[in-house]
């Protein structure tokens, strides 16, 4: 064999081995991401099609920057906020379409249902929309990542800030289902721990539209702060009607879970001065602005924390697949947990053993209409809540994976 021919054969063999190696580790030759979200219901603006767009942006950027040797595909579906639809879809995706990770999953019930299927089938679950803490406590498992935020962080941000700034007496307006109760419980604990007092609560049917009766009750309690332990249209209607009935500004409102889409829908007039906690604000740094403007060009709305978190988590997942050289769940989970997250969404974010991604959160105050200079200029950042303070410490975890 001439040296030239030998070199050519060796090169071909090496290339074949390389491509074989890469192919062999990725099942079906491609990484398949399933975005399961609310595309038609009450959370479709804060997650929905924006979360799908964020996923596609993450994949495009990953291919452009990291030049992976594997193919990446996306499938999407509407879970309609129903646990049975979510778990059936996840099962179908995993069994028939070989989906490697099921992501987004706004609403706790759909998230918990899919976590069970994924554990049984050994696939990765990445959650950005759901808020409840049981996801990383009693219900935690080793294939799940809770990425963007949770009720503990929300309570710890808003309720703590408002209480320490003088809002000592509280009354809660709570959506009468699991999420509302969890948010009320977490927030009450923070209020009392910071020297405040909870005067009472009223539980309203979910979903509601007329909150005037409940607001009058809250008004007659004489509490300084009315904590809104609800979300979406319930929160926006309650805020609007609080202004109408003269509840505000004598008493102040604390929106315990609010997204920038809610503030946008209501406008600044009824929301001005409110405190809220978020994992992301588009106008915070050069990096966040640059990414958000790209998002805005396509979606015509600025991203919520769920959508920004979706981008960050998918990019991180794909990096982990590349680093592990495999889409095997345990290898990818190990790589995801080992690598810190550093992008426009989070600095030195870390996925803990209970599946919680811990990162800095932000306490923001909604601007007065006169202070808002350009479209979507809604928040003033009042404080950065460091990752270690924002989320429940591992020492308090009720996750069975955490050895005490």
């Amino acid at each position: 064999m001439s040296s030239r021919k030998y070199a050519r054969t060796a090169c071909a063999a090496a290339l074949a081995a390389l491509s074989f190696g890469a192919q062999a580790q990725i099942s079906g030759g491609s990484v398949k991401i399933g975005v399961l979200t609310d595309l038609s219901g009450t959370y479709s603006d804060l997650a929905g099609s924006g979360a799908i767009l964020a996923t596609r942006m993450a994949i495009d950027d990953f291919i452009a920057n990291e030049k992976p040797s594997f193919k990446i595909e996306v499938v999407t579906a509407d879970h309609q906020n129903k646990a049975d639809i979510a778990s059936n879809k996840a099962r179908e995706w995993i069994e028939r379409e070989n989906v490697d990770t099921v992501t987004e999953l706004v609403t706790t019930s759909t998230a918990l249902a899919v976590m069970k299927v994924a554990k049984e089938k050994d696939r990765v679950v990445i959650m950005n929309g759901p808020a409840s803490t049981p996801i990383t406590n009693e219900q935690c498992n080793d294939v799940s990542v809770h990425y963007t935020y949770d009720t503990y962080a929300l309570a710890n941000g808003t309720a703590k800030a408002v209480t320490t700034q003088g809002g000592k007496s509280w009354f809660f307006l709570t959506a009468d289902y699991a999420f509302g109760h969890a948010l009320e419980k977490d927030s009450s604990a923070v209020v009392t721990a910071n020297g405040g007092k909870v005067l009472g609560a009223v539980r309203h049917p979910f979903p509601g539209s007329d909150f005037s009766s409940f607001l009058l009750k809250a008004q007659s309690s004489g509490a300084q702060v009315i904590g809104l332990a609800n979300a979406g249209a319930d929160t926006t209607n309650a805020i609007k009607q609080a202004a109408e009935f003269g509840v505000t500004p004598k008493q102040s409102l604390a929106g315990l879970l609010m997204f920038i889409t809610d503030v946008h829908a209501l406008g600044l007039k009824p929301t001005q001065g409110m405190f809220l906690t978020t994992g992301f604000y588009w106008d915070r740094t050069e990096e966040t602005r640059a990414w958000s403007k790209r998002f805005f060009d396509k979606q015509k709305k600025m991203p919520t924390m769920v959508q920004a978190g979706q981008y960050s988590s998918i990019y991180h997942y794909l990096k982990a697949v590349k680093a592990a050289g495999s889409d095997d769940t345990s290898k990818v989970m190990a790589a995801m947990k080992k690598t810190p997250i550093n992008d426009f969404f989070a600095k030195n974010g870390q996925i803990r053993d209970d599946g919680r991604m811990v990162h800095d959160m932000y306490l923001v105050q909604v601007k007065k209409p006169a202070d808002s200079k350009y479209p979507w200029d809604y928040y003033t950042i009042k404080a950065t809540i460091p990752a270690a303070e924002a989320f429940q410490p591992l020492a308090q975890s009720r996750c069975p994976l955490i050895k005490k």
Partner: protein, 293 residues
Amino acid sequence: MEIFGISTALLGSQLLVGLINGSFYAILSLGLAIIFGLLNIINFCHGAQYMMGAFVAWIALTRFGINYWVALIAAPLIVGVVGVLIERLMLRRLYKLDHLYGLLLTFGLALIFEGIFRDQFGISGESYEVPELLSGGVNLGFMFLPIYRGWVIIASLTVCFGTWYMIERTKLGAYLRAGTENSAMVQALGINVPLLITFTYGYGVALAAFAGVLAAPIFQVNPLMGSNLIIVVFAVVVIGGMGSIMGSILTGLGLGLIEGLTRVFYPEASSVVVFVIMVIVLLLRPAGLFGKS
């Protein structure tokens, strides 16, 4: 002073709020009752037509600068014309069939309308400001009453009783009633019954849209605002007696009050109290409180 541990001030304010909600129920159930009474159609897209009224007002204001007062007249007219088209092109073909077909058709239309608005405007809703003239409120001593809410009671009751008067006391109303009793006979007398029916449906739809414009400054203008309300309104119509005009008005107001009281004493039950009453009424008086058995 307190009654069962609840201050009279709180009780009074809740009753007033109940009356405000009741007037929404009254005007919406009135439209449904007219359509059912005269066309025998269970108009399941009434909620979507209410939502369209609110959206037309919002679009008129934000895109064309048309104010609330003009919208209060224009939006019901526009949505009413959509109703006329629905009646002419679709409902007309179903009168000879069982009224389940009408229900299914209008239910399908409701889903289509909601889908279109959701696709165009998203789900978070849009804000509609209270008109300048009606902003602010008055202190009644026991509560702070927003002037706009007071206006809602006056406007809806005026329209409700005006409608009742038109149907029960005028010549046009007499034709309408006669046309539904025996359309062949009335037609033989030279009255255009199909036109009367079209007018009736258009008017019922316009009532829903009118309620939608009234609701726009109170609630977020949202594609799902009608579907949240429509089931309660149907319960109101059933309790009042399907097709009974005065029954739907009085039942609407009464149930608003009962719902308000439930919110004071046991808030968790406030979303089901209307249905509990519906079950009891149906067991005791299957034709409803004001229905002809």
